[in-house]
């Protein structure tokens, strides 16, 4: 046991001790790296220690749900005070471990459906939040001060040596496994099946310690599927404004889209409206984007040259396999996603982010935080912020930068276009424009050092509503900025309180633009402009290759 005394390899020695405990606990059950599902709780009891940092793979798409459930069955007298690291906290089990006293500390990025319960647990003191991060930020910390001791990940297949095939839904797995395996941690993978030969190796066996065949395939959420049937005429009108007023205006070739119906509408009028404007080959050529089914018509029309994805999307597998010139696919033909790389691509290599939000204040700060919910950010802050470290140029980036710097004595540089697209009223007539974001009150309630702002006002370049586009790059001073925002805030109290003369003046200067200023014929703003009007249409456009999940098969 000389190793234990050596001050430079304590982590390795500790790892060996954990593996020895696991071998003893599993006995004959352990076949190489394969652990039977029935022994998963015994495995976790053996390899975990109180206070461990444990990364449980789960993002807004695939989930290591079998391992997550197993964690909730641990004996809290043996395993307690775990420090959980989660990209996305979306399953009830993710919080059950805190309720049961197995875990006590959390660092995460996004919580979505569990946001309300998370806020309650945090208030009760059973859960101590370290910080809320963006995906890239959290991955970064895995390599600095939040390195996992044990990582629980999900793969589609393993071979008998422990090599993993993560395939289209590779997502966060490489980042998590690399941080854990190369810092003397232990990687445990749940797999849907064990096979003799993998289609390809996404994670080499040498980085994986245990493989547990899961009784059920991992859970996966079709988060990016938007039924075109639900797109409204207002969304079509806003999409027309986006294309004419921003995509064409700046010549945006490389971009990322948000997740909502607003941007799905843009995707669906590329092959109609943008084509008629002669924009094919000039805009929207290269994407950092999940494989949105709504993008199929634009791909088929030849608009889209390349798409790199954070994750995959259920039902898109066969379509992607048949379009390898567009998507990133392996020699086996299936896609490989990678959240860390796609986030880096979206941040540094895209000229525009456009997405929806829930609230915008008079400085242009944008937030999806609402009272009583700690929902986090995901990737939006990295997509929706100027990349200050960027040094390569493009026409769109230079034009935005020169608009922001006109008349100032500063060195020339570009700027990323960050567009917040929102209807002035959300459902139940809740105004999207507010004097003060709910995020401030949430910060006070939850004792946060700063309000959880998704996109800071100084990164937002355009706000697009049904009333028009406010170009914040052209605003000089806070007062102009405020009036430009009020000037597109419609009939919300914030919009009604505008200084009409000043807004008309901003309109004369092109800071505020109305649909008629952009030469948009509102008669075209109907659902007829959508290249496909429903799910069946998307399937047809894909040549029958897209296979929507059951809940979207409404014909």
């Amino acid at each position: 046991m000389a190793d234990v005394e050596n001050r430079w390899n304590r982590q390795q020695a500790n790892r060996s001790a954990r593996l020895a405990r696991a071998a003893a606990a599993l006995g004959a059950g352990l076949q190489g790296k394969l652990v039977p599902a029935a022994q998963v709780v015994a495995l976790l009891h053996a390899v975990l220690e109180p206070g461990d940092r444990v990364c449980l793979e789960g993002n807004n798409q695939k989930q290591a749900d079998f391992l997550g459930k197993a964690l909730t069955q641990l004996d809290p007298t043996r395993i307690h005070d775990l420090h959980m690291l989660l990209s996305v906290l979306s399953l009830p089990e993710h919080l059950d471990v805190f309720e049961k006293g197995i875990a006590s500390r959390l660092d995460f990025s996004f919580s979505g459906p569990q946001a309300g319960r998370l806020a309650k647990l945090a208030a009760s003191g059973k859960l101590n939040i370290g910080a809320i991060h963006t995906y890239l930020e959290l991955f970064g910390r895995y390599f600095v001060d939040l390195t996992p001791r044990v990582a629980l990940v999900a793969a589609e297949m393993a071979d008998r040596e422990g090599n993993l095939y993560t395939g289209p839904n590779t997502e966060d797995t490489p980042a998590i496994v690399e941080a854990t395996a190369f810092k003397s941690g232990i990687v445990i993978a749940q797999v849907n099946q064990v096979v003799d030969k993998l289609p390809r190796v996404d994670i080499p066996a040498g980085w994986v310690e245990f493989v547990v065949p899961s009784p059920q395939p991992y859970y996966i959420e079709p988060l990016f599927t938007r039924d075109p049937a639900q797109i409204s005429e207002i969304q079509v009108l806003m999409a027309m404004m986006a294309i004419k007023g921003i995509y064409a205006e700046y010549g945006v070739e490389r971009l990322n889209h948000g997740i909502g119906f607003d941007t799905a509408a843009i995707e669906l009028i590329l092959p109609t409206y943008a084509l008629d404007l002669g924009l094919k080959g000039k805009i929207a050529r290269h994407w950092a984007l999940n494989p949105h089914p709504a993008l199929i018509p634009a791909i088929e029309a030849g608009f889209v040259e390349s798409v790199h994805s954070f994750g995959s999307e259920l039902g898109m597998e066969a379509y992607i396999r048949a379009r390898p010139d567009v998507f990133f696919t392996g020699p086996d033909g299936s896609m490989r996603s990678n959240r860390a790389f796609s986030q880096a691509a979206g941040h540094y290599a895209c000229d525009m982010f456009i997405g929806s939000t829930l609230q915008i204040d008079l400085q242009g700060n944008s937030s999806t935080a609402t009272l009583g919910r700690i929902s986090g950010f995901g990737g939006a802050p990295n997509m929706g912020s100027d990349a200050r470290g960027r040094r390569h140029t493009s026409a769109a980036w230079l034009k935005a930068g020169s608009q922001a710097r006109a008349g100032k004595n500063v060195a020339p540089r570009g700027q990323k276009l960050v567009v917040q697209m929102v209807e002035t009223f959300r459902e139940h007539m809740a105004p999207a424009f507010v004097e003060r974001l709910d995020a401030w009150q949430l910060a006070e309630q939850a004792g946060m050092a700063i309000p959880p702002v998704m996109i800071y006002g100084d990164d937002v370049t355009h706000i697009l509503t049904e009333e028009g586009i406010a170009n914040l790059l052209l605003c000089r001073g806070e007062e102009e900025r405020e009036q430009a925002i009020r000037g597109v805030a419609g009939y919300t109290p914030v919009g009604m309180a505008r200084d009409k003369r000043m807004v008309e003046n901003l309109r004369d200067r092109g800071v505020v633009q109305r649909p008629e200023d952009l030469g948009i014929d509102k008669r075209l703003a109907t659902r007829d402009l959508l290249a496909e009007k429903n799910m069946k249409g998307l399937v047809r456009a894909s040549g029958g290759l897209y296979a929507p999940p059951k809940r979207f098969r409404n014909w």
């Binding site: 005429e233 207002i234 008629e516 030469g519 948009i520 509102k522 008669r523």
Partner: protein, 104 residues
């Protein structure tokens, strides 16, 4: 149910052509009937809305509509089922554009 009346005098753009009906009466939507009428240069708008208590918003939406189009001798009837101001403005503009043949 609430019925609101608006009248804007001294418009400059007479409404040509035949009556037009756009939109449908369904939840969150509205129907707009627009027709020429001898009103001494005025534009009259009648709103029947399912949502009570939004008179001030309707007035602001109608005032902006009139500022955009300056219609004269025009009668507009609206049947509303809780449409947002955005939908109301879009329908009105679509109705007028379908009569006049294009944006203002």
């Amino acid at each position: 149910m609430e019925t609101l009346h608006f009248r804007f005098d001294a418009g400059s753009r007479p409404l040509p052509g035949a009556p037009q009906l756009v939109g449908v009466v369904s939840s969150g939507n509205l129907e707009v009937l627009i027709e020429p009428a001898a009103l001494g240069g005025a534009c009259e708008i009648e709103v029947r809305t399912a949502a009570n208590g939004f008179g001030a918003t309707w007035e602001a939406v109608m005032r902006d509509f009139h500022a955009r189009w300056q219609l004269s001798d025009a009668r507009i009837c609206i049947n509303d089922m809780g449409a947002t101001p955005a939908v109301v403005s879009l329908r009105l503009d679509q109705a007028v554009e379908s009569v006049t043949g294009g944006p203002p």
